[in-house]
């Protein structure tokens, strides 16, 4: 691995132990995997597998290195998932419509989510709709673009950290990210903000 410590050394970390790190990252990782797979159960398996791998192999590394390493593992697990899914879809074409990877009912979670105290019911509804729209749009992005977008925009990783996590060049990260933003701008044309 490249000198990850040097890359992220200037960041203040909100965690010092692996447990704190996993706690800090687990929800975001779950949603990233869910957007990548379109299925909450598969996403949960992928996140759990990534946690196991990180603890098993890299818990002795410096806390600065955990985030890029974790996302590298997650990215690799997602790639494995896409490969397996592609093979399965090719083998079982007739059962594609009943596949377990059809869109899950996760948006119901939006309804369960507590709203902000300052929001009126109308604002809460608008926010909920906006998040659902964003959720759908992100799922429509090609895999690499989605990964680059989520790591850069959501996780706030730098270009070089994203490159380490995705195991591609910085130039490729910039390309994928730029295309993802372009696509999202088109898809979220009616995207309204407060």
């Amino acid at each position: 691995m490249e000198n990850t410590v040097a890359v992220v050394a200037d960041k203040q970390l909100p965690y010092t132990t692996v447990e704190q790190f996993l706690k800090h990252i687990e929800r975001r990782a779950f949603h990233m995997a869910r957007l990548g797979t379109g299925n909450a159960d598969s996403a949960m398996d992928i996140v759990q597998d990534s946690m196991y791998k990180l603890v098993e192999k890299y818990s002795t590394k410096q806390p600065l290195e955990w985030k890029p390493l974790f996302y590298r593992i997650l990215s690799s697990r997602l790639t494995d998932y896409y490969r397996r899914k592609a093979v399965r879809d090719r083998l079982f074409v007739w059962s594609k419509s009943t596949s377990v990877d059809s869109e899950d009912s996760f948006p119901d979670a939006l309804a369960r989510a507590p709203g902000r105290n300052s929001e009126t019911p109308d604002e809460m509804l608008m926010r909920s709709q906006r998040i659902q729209q964003l959720d759908r749009s992100v799922q429509q992005l090609p895999n690499r673009q989605r990964q680059a977008f989520m790591l850069r925009c959501w996780e706030g990783l730098s270009t070089i950290e994203t490159a380490i996590a995705m195991e591609i060049s910085e130039g490729s990260v910039k390309t994928h990210y730029s295309r993802a933003m372009h696509a999202l701008r088109d898809m979220l044309e009616d995207y309204r903000h407060d």
């Binding site: 692996v18 975001r28 949603h31 989510a113 925009c153």
Partner: protein, 114 residues
């Protein structure tokens, strides 16, 4: 790093809001996953302890046996050396006794010659 545009900032804000929509069952399963991942780390630590302890104990035992053998060998060697010395001393005694005899014989021969 370039400054994020307002579009990016809005996306980021909504993505962070999306995180907050995680339902209780998912949060529970994530906590379970985290705990089992961390438990695996602890069990791997303890599973490493016993083989390491066994190897160390066996090494110490082997070293002890070898040292004991070496001491026994030294003792035997020392004992055999002492025996050689004793034998040597006996031989020397005989030699001296023989020498006395030859001196006496020589003196008698010299006396008779003179």
């Amino acid at each position: 790093m370039t400054k994020p545009t307002s579009f990016e900032q809005n996306l980021q804000r909504d993505l962070l809001a999306l995180e907050e929509t995680t339902g209780a069952p998912e949060i529970f399963r994530l906590a379970q996953a985290r705990r089992s991942a961390l438990a695996q780390e602890k069990s791997s630590e303890s599973s490493f302890f016993w083989p390491a302890f066994g190897i160390s104990a066996a090494s110490l035992l082997l070293a002890g046996v070898m040292l004991q053998g070496q001491l026994g060998l030294n003792y035997q060697q020392e004992a055999s050396n002492n025996e050689v010395l004793l034998e040597f001393e006996d031989d020397q005694l005989d030699l001296y006794q023989d020498l006395d005899f030859y001196y006496w014989l020589a003196d008698i021969d010299m006396d008779s010659a003179s």
